[in-house]
């Protein structure tokens, strides 16, 4: 049988022949060596968070054992080393995503905080009654709720792009909304965490700009699996999160245009983000530090740099090719399994490594519980996308999602576990 996706180390896929090798990559992730009930762990919950390679763990350990210190303003040796490591993490992020300037890169706690920063700082200052903010029905709650709050505070309106049956957004509807002339900002996800849909974000940003609107893109699911070129996408704001991209928890990135950041009031305030503090007022530090109040997540930024090095060494194009093949294989296997229905784009072409499905007569929670008996870790939930669940007419879906270390054998284990779950319920 010919495969296009890694099966085992004896049967590598085409990508492996060019040096990728998911089966070998597994060796770099200690948690994947874990056995539960004597059997290996099948980790298919990567859209929630990815596992961490040894290189990231070693970097965190090295940082704390050799460099730990507070950054900026420290004159002593350790502080200089830590500051250097922290700031070179910023440069590494810029190179990785082809962004323009370090000063346009703000470290946050995650995608959620990045979007909140924009909604609160930009939104509350610049949105006006009668302005529209366009989101979509496939957004994660983190790209809905902050806009609801900003709308409530300013009198702006929140409007939703619909999701078609094939899991795509309609650019015609976007154009129609933009043509109304009152759209201040378009805030959309790059890749859906439920449907896997890859949205044409460069085109969306282009259309928003033509209509005089700003664009924010939620890249939480895109950065881990696509070649993301921020210069090409040209969004005013692009937020993502480190822990879904092999990095530590507690660190994310907000990319934002400097002219906008200059006009925006600080989000959090306190230490580090000031130039001078008088008794009654203060002036702000320069970018990007104006938006990094308090002690930063130094170790996590350094760890994120190691995660980026790891991803870069694999090559994002290889990762995309591998996950694409894995997704196509999963869609094929699930379509051929009785009692399974699928959500999202029918082909793997415009879909990231995320597959949501339902089993007839079995609640997603029971699916996840029964799959866990076979050591298969999937997620069953509304995936923080309740408006999308309503659109799909369900309360929750079961979701399998991939990382670079997944192989076809993981998908086979998923299918077997699904068949076993069906037997229990038929029993």
């Amino acid at each position: 049988m010919k495969h296009v996706v890694c099966r085992t180390s004896e049967e590598p896929c085409q990508e492996c022949l060019v040096g990728f090798g998911a089966e070998k990559i597994r060796e770099d992730f200690p948690i994947l060596w874990t056995k539960v009930h004597g059997k290996p762990l099948v980790y298919l919950d990567n859209a929630a968070t990815t596992q961490k390679p040894q290189a990231v763990l070693d970097t965190l350990m090295r940082y704390y054992t050799e460099e730990n210190s507070n950054v900026h303003r420290g004159v002593h040796f350790l502080s200089q080393v830590a500051t250097q490591s922290y700031e070179s993490g910023r440069t590494r992020v810029r190179q990785f995503l082809n962004a323009s300037h370090d000063r346009e890169i703000i470290f946050t706690r995650g995608a959620t905080e990045g979007i909140n920063l924009v909604a609160q700082s930009y939104g509350r200052k610049h949105l006006r009654a009668g302005d529209e903010v366009i989101v979509s029905a496939m957004e994660h709650h983190s790209n809905i709720v902050p806009w609801q709050q900003a709308a409530a505070a300013t009198g702006a309106q929140l409007r939703y792009l619909e999701v078609a049956d094939d899991g795509t957004l309609s650019l015609e509807q976007l154009d129609a909304e933009l043509a109304r002339g009152d759209v201040a900002l378009v805030a959309l996800t790059h890749v859906s965490n439920v449907l896997g849909t890859i949205n044409p974000v460069a085109e969306i940003v282009h259309r928003a700009h033509d209509a005089g609107a700003l664009a924010l893109i939620d890249g939480a699911q895109a950065v881990p699996q696509l070649e993301v070129d921020l210069t090409a996408i040209d969004a005013d704001f692009y937020a993502w999160t480190g822990h879904k991209a092999l990095g530590p928890t507690g660190v994310g990135v907000l990319h934002a245009r400097a002219e906008l950041l200059e006009q925006m009031p600080p989000f959090l305030s306190g230490g580090d983000m000031i130039a001078t503090v008088e008794a009654q007022s203060s002036s702000w530090n320069e970018l990007p530090w104006k938006f990094e109040a308090g002690t930063s997540m130094i170790a996590q930024v350094v760890g994120l740099g190691a995660a980026i090095d790891y991803l870069d060494a694999l090559g994002m194009a290889n990762i995309r090719a591998h996950e694409h093949a894995l997704t196509a294989y999963t869609l094929e296997r699930l379509s051929a399994t009785d009692g399974v229905s699928l959500f999202g784009p029918p082909s793997a072409e415009h879909r990231g490594g995320v597959v949501s499905f339902a089993l007839e007569g079995i609640h997603p929670h029971d699916v996840a519980e029964l799959l866990s008996r076979s050591n298969v870790c999937i997620r069953a939930s509304h995936h923080c996308a309740q408006p999308l669940m309503r659109r799909l007419g369900v309360v929750a879906t079961a979701r399998a999602s991939f990382g670079p270390y997944n192989v076809a054998a993981d998908v086979d284990a998923l299918i077997e576990a699904i068949e076993r779950a069906q037997e229990v319920f038929e029993g």
Binding site: G361, I362, H363, P364, H365, D366, E369, L370, R373, A380, S381, H382, Q386, M389, V395, A396, V424, F425, G427
Partner: protein
């Protein structure tokens, strides 16, 4: 044979007892399981200090549906005062399966909604003595 998905659990899940509507009722309430977004409603008719009739509405996982179905059989005919003070231990014992910490809310949702209907207060049933 699966520990959790025992025959009687699946039987109650597939054919839940006392699900439907009671248009004329004395009490009702509606609750959501924050874990999964599952919703469950209840309508209750009282006569002579007892639950004379009760119906649940909604759908959910096997654990929550079976728990509601099994509880309904016990609750109909029970004194209101007793029903209002039932605790988590009662429900878990009635279910008779090992419920993990993550599925506890699935098992207790029906009791929570009944409590809410009877007392106007919908906190999660705690352990005995809680």
């Amino acid at each position: 044979m699966d520990d959790l998905y025992r025959d009687f659990i699946l039987e109650h899940y597939k054919r839940p007892r006392n699900f439907g509507e009671l248009p004329e009722h004395d009490h009702d309430a509606h609750e959501v399981n924050p874990l999964c977004g599952d919703e469950l409603g209840v309508q209750i008719v009282i006569a002579d200090g007892r639950i004379a009739d009760l119906r649940f509405q909604g759908h959910g996982c096997a654990i929550s549906q079976a728990a509601a179905s099994m509880a309904s059989e016990e609750l109909i005919g029970m004194e209101v005062d007793e029903a209002a003070t039932l605790d988590a231990g009662w429900m878990l014992e009635l279910l008779g399966i090992p419920v993990s910490a993550t599925r506890r809310k699935c098992a207790l949702l029906s009791l929570k909604v009944v409590r809410h209907a009877l007392t106007g207060e919908g906190s999660w049933p705690g352990d005995p003595g809680n």
